[in-house]
């Protein structure tokens, strides 16, 4: 009887359907042909199945190491000796060319150029330039692709971050991870497809907000699930003190029996769907603590990521956790490391920030590679915009700051079918404008989706009469950087 009850509900239920087959949209698409209005929000039947790849995906999963606050490209990957030569001289108006400025420097009387306080050297076979702040990243340059020609439209943190994550500066649109969860479904039925990990450095901080990992108008099963470093890695995951697993199981069995009585009366498939969700919750209660327990990692791994990885809530611990989650089939692991907003005290603050993230970021690449996972995992490292080549506020020999700069900045990507050991795009000698191979945020997003086997123009969702997509109305896949 109970079996019938569960299976009967299965036939009708969309969410259950998703978790059972774990095929993502392919299966949902099919389901919606059979059941009208499978999705609450209005699945787009005509262009079905939008998530079906047109081509073999290179990557199965993404780990996005977001550097929140916008690290300076001029002290990391974009080497500009000219700025040191012209230290203190005025930014030529021909270079600035009317670029709008934030309210923080718009009224500044002069725009003195400032070169990097830190030296750069070339590394690896690719001979990529990397500053002294990133010695570990320097060692893996042959595994990563540095893009020096990123540009965006926003000049303030909130809209720029939102733009990177959702494709629009304003509004409540689904985040990149939510789109991937929607398009590809989950690989592991005991874990959410999209998880979020937060950490913070000592540098000038900017907040993060749940809007960045929102499902927007998609079903809330696609929302990013925040894993915290506190005692509960997922909210409300832990059973109350004094209640063991056996007792919890017993309660769920009683609940199932009681719910079945109600199902017999009402015949509503939502009732059996509810029972299924309780079962998934129960499985998560076992699966998540196992994955988030870093104490059993071997010494060589601890050494690789650095001692910080044993301190919960650090970027290093989150990188290690990201690897474990990804390895276990979490489609999109989104990290945020706060503290990169160096309007002042850049040389000292940025050194601290780099120290937080450098070793662990490089370790993640090495670790994925040694497990044979780098090929199918796309790793991304970068912030929401770049920083100005002139100093904000007072400038001295060893102290200065940099304001926000949307026109040109650097990020890197690795694995997941992206060419290793290349540097793509170039900025002018002032590090102010892109002079070759510009990559717009929407191009970047289109490329990420492409690597996962999704066509960014076809992965749409119809909401209030419009077909929305991550890349809004533009975006071209950057084929040059792909294997």
């Amino acid at each position: 009887m109970e079996k019938d009850f569960l299976e009967h509900g299965l036939n009708f239920n969309r969410r259950r359907f998703l978790s059972k087959l774990s095929l993502g949209l392919g299966s949902v698409a099919l389901g919606s042909l059979l059941i009208p209005d499978l999705f609450t929000g209005g699945m787009d039947e005509s262009s079905l199945p939008p998530g079906i790849p047109d081509f073999a995906p290179k990557a199965k999963r993404v780990i996005y190491l977001f550097q929140n606050g916008a690290p300076s490209q001029l002290e990391s990957f974009d080497y500009k000796p000219k700025l040191r030569e012209m230290m203190g001289q005025e930014l030529p108006a021909s270079i600035r060319a009317g670029q709008r400025l934030t309210g923080m420097t718009a009224n500044q009387a002069s725009f003195p150029l400032v070169g990097s306080y830190y030296d750069f050297k070339q590394y690896g076979d690719s001979r990529a330039w990397v500053s002294d702040l990133f010695p570990y990243t320097a060692k893996v340059v042959d595994d990563i692709c540095i893009i020096k020609s990123m540009h965006t439209e926003a000049i303030n943190h909130d809209p720029a971050l939102t733009f990177f994550q959702t494709g629009a500066q304003q509004g409540n649109r689904p985040s990149m991870g939510a789109w991937l969860s929607y398009g590809l479904g989950s690989e592991n039925k005991n874990l959410p497809a999209f998880t979020v990990l937060l950490s913070r450095g000592k540098g000038n901080g900017q907040g993060v907000y749940s809007k960045l990992w929102t499902n927007g108008f998609l079903d809330s099963t696609h929302q990013g699930v925040q894993f915290s470093s506190g005692e509960d890695p997922v909210l409300y995951l832990k059973d109350p003190e004094g209640l063991n697993r056996f007792e919890r199981r017993k309660m769920l069995d009683h609940l199932a029996k009681l719910n079945e009585i109600s199902y017999q009366e009402f015949g509503d498939p939502e009732i059996s769907a509810k029972v299924q969700q309780y079962e998934m919750a129960y499985r998560m209660q076992t699966a998540v603590p196992e994955i988030t327990d870093l104490s059993k990692e071997p010494d060589d791994i601890i050494k690789l990521y650095g001692p910080d990885c044993l301190v919960p809530g650090t970027f290093a611990a989150n990188c290690l956790l990201a690897r474990k989650l990804s390895e276990n089939g979490v489609r999109f692991v989104q990290l945020y490391h706060q503290g990169w907003d160096q309007h002042g005290n850049l040389p000292s603050e940025m050194a601290g920030q780099a120290k937080d993230v450098d070793q662990a970021s490089a370790a993640l690449i090495t670790d994925l590679k040694q497990r044979g996972l780098l090929d199918e995992t796309l790793v991304i490292w970068g912030g929401e915009f770049g920083r100005t080549n002139y100093s904000q506020g007072k400038m001295t020999k060893d102290n200065y700051g940099r304001d926000h700069h949307p026109r040109c900045f650097s990020i890197w990507m690795a694995g997941g079918g992206v060419k290793p050991g290349i540097v793509y795009g170039e900025s002018d000698e002032f590090g102010y404008n892109v002079i070759s191979n510009p990559v717009h945020v929407h191009d970047f997003q289109a490329t990420v989706l492409h690597q996962l086997g999704l066509n960014h123009e076809k992965l749409t969702f119809k909401h209030l009469g419009r077909r929305y997509r991550l890349t809004d109305v533009s975006g071209k896949v950057v084929k040059d950087i792909l294997i």
Partner: protein, 772 residues
């Protein structure tokens, strides 16, 4: 190659699915018949709009081949590129380029082109063919024609109908040969009614009284008393808070505190005193412009200042000021007109007849506020509201604003509307960019809805008059539909925020129009409308769904049964607190901070402002209704978000209703639920009754009905079992250590822990948080 592989997989999945679905034919695609008379509005336009208008519609900049299909004269004209041909030749599909192209298999001719990723089905092509055969007649979009009250349809089973609503619903059911469900049993009905009208479950006294009342008007009496309850205003306000994107913080990245709650108190007050809808909206849109505006009218205008306001240093002032005006304009379109006006922000609307110019004409009404983009960065109490603002003194609260629950003597400020003396010029903003000024425009409205005649002043007051002009086709329909949605889980127009060309057509167009006209003709009386809905037989049906009805109408569009769905986030909390007796029924006042997992605010803050850390409240503030839980926009309260509450980022007219494992975890482990379980268990144990009686009482309090024999037995035996588990006192004490409400000293801890588990089980029943 890969694609082929995929299709193989798909085929396999299809087989798997078909096997799983074999005992239900719901999954069979029912091919709909082409109607005898094809209607442009109901059959053809949805196809053209969805598949053709993006390139052959209102947006002049994106129009291909100079052809537009949304206007008859244009579609009948000789084609620009081939003057001997015509897109549409009435009565002659074979001579109509439209039909030839959509039915072509030649990829060079085929429409829509492959690059659009769009495709017409055979059914859609046949529909268009028949429409052309019948003369290719265009009609004005239904929602832009003013509603006219249709005749009340005749029905065969007259005695089923309790009021006009039922005639419309039943007529359609009879047409389809479907019988409505019988009336729900009294207990289910009372729970449904109480949750819908007050957001709270009925208490035992109410249940006893209603069950014992055998009179004909027993139900009517309950309706009346619930409508008079102060909780009615709270329940009605909840939807309006979503619409108005009300929150307790400024939003954007620093997201510091704002003291906007007196406006929320006003909304509750307005619903409770049954302020007519036209007045309710006029005050909110233009209270400040009314002759001799009162403080209450001014407070109401907080509606247009609930949007997010930045405190991020370094932003460009004008960029954000424009953003605020944009937010107001979009909210006006979505909430009050039910159209996606926002789509015309950057370009002409692609589907609806709204030009970009018209967008900025509406924008002009909201563009004259005495405000700046960045007034202040994170700071002290002077930043808790932004100019223009009003101050509410203790004197005001004693005399005029008696509904504002001000609890101390500190200065209280609220952001409200106030215009500049000289008119700020409004321009079309090219591509929607704040400083890309195009043509200068004057205040106005979309012509296709209702022209903005000279009789209206060109300010927000005039705009309100335009909105409530009885010729305005949208205002009444849109609101009536939102109210319907709150009672049935689905509007008569499902896309309650989009009545335009891309929105769904109404399931019962005549009923919608009848309600809209009736609502206007009876003074926009909201309580009257609500009463009509809950008094109908349609509403009072049981929610039982037969296999047959599930198969033929899985979405319950025909309403041959009552809807059955999970209650909103706030009500989940209210049910838990009310049934355990913990609920503190105070209305209004500053929002409260109940239990919340540690570290959430701290992990996501910029570190600035008084909301950097979550300072949990104590005492009574822990037990307030869900609607008073503090909403910090960047980190909304987790249990609310998990149950689909709005994050109040922007105007929202409909919430999703999902079912996820995280919801299960909340119900199992949230201290609020566990504490309520413990408190209720203690209360029951202190009563001198048998275990069965305790189970029955708990079940009645939580699920709002008497349990059946099987349920009583299962729960009682579970209690006996748990007694053994918690025989050890130390183990029991661990489980009991949750929440701040004291444990009675003399109580047997083992019994208490065992009974607490029984309570938690009942709280976790699907039916507990479901409207049944």
């Amino acid at each position: 190659m890969y694609r082929r592989l995929f299709y193989l997989m798909l085929a396999f999945a299809a087989v798997v699915y078909a096997i799983q679905a074999c005992n239900s034919s719901a999954s069979q695609v029912v091919e709909e018949q082409i109607p005898d008379q094809v209607s442009y509005n109901f059959h053809v336009r949805p196809i053209l709009s969805d598949k053709c208008f993006a390139c052959h519609g209102p947006d002049a900049n994106k129009r291909e081949a100079g052809l537009r299909l949304d206007i008859a004269e244009e579609a009948y004209k000789a084609l620009k590129e081939n003057p001997s041909a015509h897109a549409l030749v009435p009565f002659k599909p074979e001579a109509s380029e439209v039909f030839l192209r959509i039915s072509s298999t030649d990829s060079a001719l085929m429409m829509p082109p492959k690059s659009s990723n769009l495709k017409l089905t055979a059914h859609e092509i046949a529909m268009i063919e028949k429409w052309i055969k019948q003369g290719a007649k265009y009609e004005r979009h239904w929602a832009f024609n003013p509603p006219k009250a249709p005749a009340i349809p005749k029905v065969k089973t007259e005695d089923w109908a309790k009021n006009e609503i039922d005639h419309f619903i039943l007529a359609k059911l009879e047409q389809k040969g479907v019988k409505p469900n019988a009336e729900a049993d009294k207990e289910r009905l009372l729970k449904r009614l109480s949750l819908d009208l007050t957001g709270l479950p009925p208490d035992i006294a109410m249940m006893d009284k209603f069950l014992a009342d055998g009179s004909n008007n027993a139900y009517a009496k309950v309706v009346e008393s619930l409508l008079q309850s102060p909780a009615y205003g709270e329940k009605m306000a909840l939807h309006w808070l979503d619409v108005s994107r009300y929150a307790d913080s400024h939003g954007y990245q620093d997201d510091n505190y704002r003291s906007q709650w007196p406006w929320r108190d006003w909304v509750i007050h307005a619903f409770n005193k049954n302020m007519p809808y036209d007045q309710f909206i006029t005050w909110q849109l233009a209270g400040d412009l009314m002759p001799d505006a009162t403080k209450e009218q001014l407070l109401a205008t907080g509606f247009n200042r609930n949007h997010k306001i930045t405190e991020e240093g370094g932003v460009i002032d004008e960029e954000y000021r424009v953003e605020y005006v944009t937010d107001r304009t979009n909210a006006f379109g979505k909430a009050l007109l039910g159209v996606t006006l926002e789509c015309a922000h950057c370009h002409d609307h692609k589907y609806d007849p709204f030009s970009q110019k018209e967008y900025y004409q509406v924008f002009a009404f909201f563009n004259n506020v005495k405000e700046v983009g960045l007034e202040s960065s994170v700071g002290g109490p002077e930043t808790y509201a932004k100019k223009p603002l009003m101050e509410i003194s203790n004197e005001d609260v004693k005399k005029i604003l008696t509904f504002v629950n001000k609890q101390d003597t500190s200065r209280l400020i609220v952001s409200v509307m106030g215009d500049r003396d000289t008119l700020r010029k409004t321009y079309i903003l090219n591509r929607g960019v704040y400083d890309a000024h195009g043509e200068e425009v004057e205040a106005g409205t979309p012509k296709s809805v209702l022209p903005f005649g000279n009789q209206y002043a060109k300010n927000r007051l005039g705009l309100s008059k335009w909105l409530f002009d009885k010729q305005n086709p949208l205002t009444s329909r849109v609101f009536v539909n939102q109210v319907w949605q709150e009672f049935f889980g689905r509007g008569l127009v499902k896309t309650s925020g989009d009545f335009g060309m891309q929105g769904e057509l109404p399931s019962h167009p005549e009923l919608l129009d009848w309600l809209a006209v009736d609502f206007m003709n009876h003074g926009w009386n909201i309580k009257r409308l609500v009463k009509q809905i809950v008094s109908s037989s349609t509403y009072r049906q049981s929610a039982v769904v037969s296999a047959e009805k599930l198969r033929t109408d899985p979405e319950n569009i025909l309403l041959a049964r009552a809807p059955r769905y999970r209650i909103p986030a706030e009500s989940v909390r209210d049910v838990v607190l009310a049934s355990s007796g913990l609920l503190v029924k105070t209305i209004g006042g500053p929002s409260v901070k109940p239990y919340q997992p540690g570290g959430l605010w701290e992990a996501a803050t910029s570190g600035r402002g008084i909301l950097a850390n979550y300072k949990q409240d104590h005492g009574q503030s822990l037990y307030r209704r869900g609607m008073y839980t503090f909403i910090k926009r960047t980190v909304p309260p987790p249990t609310m978000a998990i149950f689909d509450a709005s994050n109040r980022d922007q105007c929202e007219v409909k919430r999703l209703n999902t079912n996820t494992p995280l919801q299960a975890l909340v119900m199992l482990n949230d201290p609020t639920v566990l504490e309520a379980s413990r408190v209720l268990a203690a209360k029951l144990l202190q009563e001198n009754t048998a275990v069965e009686a305790k189970v029955i009482k708990a079940f009645r309090l939580i699920v709002c009905r008497n349990p059946n024999e099987k349920e009583i037995k299962l729960l009682s035996s579970y209690y006996t079992d748990q007694l053994k588990v918690f025989a050890q006192k130390s183990k029991a004490e661990k489980v009991l250590a949750v929440g701040e409400y004291p444990v009675p000293e003399k109580i047997n801890k083992s019994n208490l822990a065992a009974m607490m588990e029984v309570m938690t089980t009942i709280y976790n029943l699907e039916e507990t948080i479901t409207k049944t």
